[in-house]
Symmetry: C2
Subunit: 245 residues, 2 copies
């Protein structure tokens, strides 16, 4: 029995997120079916990040156990033959049988794209959030510096979450603008439920001058979801990478 780790990219547009659920097709479900068909064993993957409905991924991670004789590095190629074009396995390799993709120290990187122009470009609409009013990127950059570091991010966590410890460390939060596309990259040791999308919604309020940049400090201190900005749509969000220590 071998444990195989997969690095998975997907276009989340047509999926109800990662985790199997009754209301629609999920990435986890498609992956289990494709692996079961390919390896002729009942396969159940364990995913690292249960991305929400509509969120994209460049580097989600999952593991499964198998008796297959296919060399671990070749599984990605064989599996991609079984998968629809909106899911691709970028890498496959063998890992220790103790390796669990969630119970590990990790650094995760997310990216959020904001299309900031007068009229939306149709070919960008599936992978970015369109904002009509001009955003002050300099103010957003300044606000981002207050989010970096170790903080209690309770204000940036959806109420549905039942996590007790809401302290996380953000190693880096960058805001870059290029030809009307604002790219926000955030790297940290863990993220609360909807945390990235609430941080981005808050940065957009800074970008419209509804909040001054330093008000982000007040939001963090309040430990109150109501103080932060709204949650932005899923389609602008991509899970870029999960790094294991």
């Amino acid at each position: 029995m071998k444990r195989i780790k997969l690095v998975i990219a997907y276009d989340g547009t047509n999926y109800c997120g990662w985790q199997i659920q009754p209301n629609g097709v999920t990435v986890e479900e498609v992956l289990n079916k494709a692996l079961t068909k390919l390896l002729k064993e009942e396969i159940v993957v364990i995913g690292a990040s249960r991305t929400d409905s509509g969120v994209h991924a460049l580097g989600n991670v999952a593991v499964f156990d198998t008796n297959t004789t296919i060399p671990p590095e070749k599984i990605c190629y064989a599996l991609n033959q079984q998968l629809p074009g909106d899911i691709r396995i970028l890498e496959s390799c063998e890992v220790s049988s103790e390796f669990h993709p969630r119970y590990c120290d990790t650094t995760k990187t997310y990216r959020y794209m904001i299309s900031n122009r007068r009229i939306e470009i149709p070919t960008q609409r599936l992978y970015s959030h369109f904002v009509y009013f001009p955003l002050d990127v300099q103010a957003m950059k300044e606000a981002a510096t207050y989010i970096e570091g170790e903080h209690d991010f309770k204000s940036f966590c959806s109420k549905r979450s039942q996590v007790e410890n809401t302290v996380r460390t953000i190693y880096e939060l960058t805001v870059e603008e290029n030809c009307g596309m604002i790219e926000i990259t955030i790297r940290g040791n863990g993220f609360l439920y909807n945390m990235v999308r609430i941080i981005v919604g808050t940065l957009i309020r800074v970008g419209t001058h509804m909040y001054p940049p330093e008000y982000v400090k007040t939001i963090i201190e309040a430990k109150d979801r109501k103080k932060a900005g709204p949650k932005v749509p899923a389609k602008g969000l991509t899970l870029v990478e999960i790094k294991y220590q």
Copy 2:
């Protein structure tokens, strides 16, 4: 009666191209219906470029005549309310009643995207052509220099075309690679049927070392479609801009 010029962007994925035809929905048809509904007059647009099925646009152009009292510059906003998210009018303005979008001296710019990596990224699949084998971008750049200038491009024209004069001028043809995405930009005074897609198919053969770069000169001189590379898929192609002199 005013003549209005529109600059139109669209995601060609779900359209059978620009021109009205019986087999499926086209951009022209959707635009005529939306304008007719908005302006409460029977509107028929004249398009500048009849892009093929699956080709995208950032700057196609169309004109129509109307008696509307909506200010010309506001028509784009009102019209976008009537259009699906995969078609957007970026600009609207009044032009002379003699202005015809096709019978004019123009410079057109096209872009073609090639995703050149081991395994395709799902979020890039709708807007680029995936090529598995590593392409030699330097060789493609060299081949591009032989295509620039005034030439008889008969070898790069699909047989279906009945154009008599196949001489065109390419002002610029650039090949740039960034993170596994090869971006080919081509600017010229006119393009034959499928010319951009056949040029890119030929450059890909140069990139795989099937053709040496200077073989492009032989292809041009042959004036024979069979000598050039294959036509690449539509989904990688975007009509970026049409400039009127």
